[in-house]
Amino acid sequence: MNDILMEVRRDYVLAKIREGERIDGRAFDEVRPIEIRTGLIGKAEGSAYVKLGNTQVVAGVKMQIGEPFPDTPDQGIIITNAELVPLASPTFEPGPPDENAIELARVVDRGIRQSEAVDLKKLCIEEGEKVWMIFIDIWALDDDGNLMDASALAAIAALLNTMVPAERFEVGDDYPLPVRDLPVAITSLVFEDKILVDPCRDELSVGKNTITITTDQDDNIVSIQKSGPFLLSEKAFEDVLDVSIEKAREVRKLLAEV
């Protein structure tokens, strides 16, 4: 039964795309409405809830003091994890993160790391001995497509909201985590050289063929991930770069208000 519904939906999405339209009436380069709320988890050092269309995600930041990695003795540590918990979709199963959850976490992590949004050198307490460790945990609540962009947004919003718990660890007074860049991920569905920005779940029924471009506030590209078994033409690649840079600027404005 589900398969038949899926087929019908797929045909409808395809017919619409070929007519130059999207099923929800959006323009091809239009991002769904975004809602960002921060600080909703009092126990976390930082937190954010993001609603992107009907996709909902919560990200929480916890911090603790640990030993630095031997090759970066003067730098703090960021660890990003994502859980596609079974309440978020009938297709998610309990258990350790699968390849999709791992990919999600790693792409979000790269955006934050490569944009140097957090100055890791400022998180060093005692070189080679004690540094701050930032754990970003992304919890999917409702998957209506494009968990990637919602998660990336929730992660950076949670960091913007983070107070370093120095008092609790007896190393001084609490202070806001210094965040110096706003990386924004834009994911698009690629279908026959057409680019559908921020695909919803129904649109992804034509194939989970996406590309995620993360840019920093100077329009540098800090992360790219082609995801899905498809052939990407050079033209689609060029187009997706242009539209992603432009859309990220729009989304970043929302983040600046957080």
Partner: protein
């Protein structure tokens, strides 16, 4: 930490020009048990790829009645890196396996083999930088050696940004201390690059630099493609002589 200079007098640390590949060695049909295989060296990378199938799917519920399923396992030997790596898949290997499988899937004619599996296993025996690209190049030759019908050949190479310049096929130091790493893979058909099948990036580059990186990668991929072709031809020509 001290600053490490990666470009000295317009040359890279190993003396290569910016658009020069590391030495590559490819041998098709390296293993006996596998249906198709390949041994490949790309700079300091030494990798082996094996293809099994099309064969029965285990576990059964993974079967697809309309096409073959493709599985790709990227694995690193514990002794392949400086510090011993714990055997078994870590998060990095799982992600590499996913994107590599997705790079090959649209090229393999899997609709010809319903209800079957094509398994691709790659083992990194020694890792330098760019092991995922080396593995994909080897996997592609192993698929051809196994006689799996394909729309073309997949060829992979990375471009890095180091000391502000773009360089082809980065080695370890350039990967570790560079500003960006961009692995590409392409579908090459009838001697021409048709499309991109793998694309990742982490680091910091401008829109313009990406464009140049793509052109560099395409030139490098065409050279690797020639070597992949030669490796396949060599195996089959030798077999004819024995007859």
């Amino acid at each position: 930490m001290e600053e490490i200079k990666l470009i000295i007098d317009g040359r890279r640390l190993d003396g290569r020009g910016f658009d020069e590949l590391r030495p590559i060695k490819i041998e098709a049909g390296f293993l006996n048990r596998a249906d198709g295989s390949c041994y490949l060296e790309m700079g300091g990378n030494k990798v082996v790829a094996a293809v099994y199938g099309p064969r029965e799917v285990h576990p059964k519920h993974l079967e697809d009645p309309s096409k073959a399923i493709i599985r790709y396992r990227y694995s690193m030997a514990p002794f392949s890196v400086e510090e011993r790596k714990r055997p078994g898949p870590d998060r990095r290997s799982i992600e590499i396996s996913k994107v590599s499988r997705e790079a090959l899937e649209p090229v393999i004619m899997k609709e010809l083999f319903p209800r079957s599996a094509i398994d691709i296993f790659v083992e990194v025996l020694q890792a330098d930088a760019g092991s995922r690209t080396a593995c994909l190049n080897a996997a592609s030759v192993a698929l051809i050696d196994a006689g799996v019908p394909m729309r073309g050949i997949v060829t992979s190479v990375a471009v890095a940004k180091v000391d502000g310049v773009l360089v082809l096929d980065p080695m370890k130091e350039e990967d570790n201390y560079g500003e960006a790493d961009i692995p590409f893979a392409f579908l090459i058909r009838n001697g021409k690059i048709e499309s991109i099948t793998l694309l990742q990036m982490d680091g910091k580059v401008t829109r313009e630099e990406l464009k140049i990186a793509l052109e560099m990668a395409k030139k490098g991929a065409m050279q690797i493609y020639q070597l992949q072709r030669e490796a396949v031809l060599k195996k089959y020509i030798r077999e004819e002589v024995i007859e």
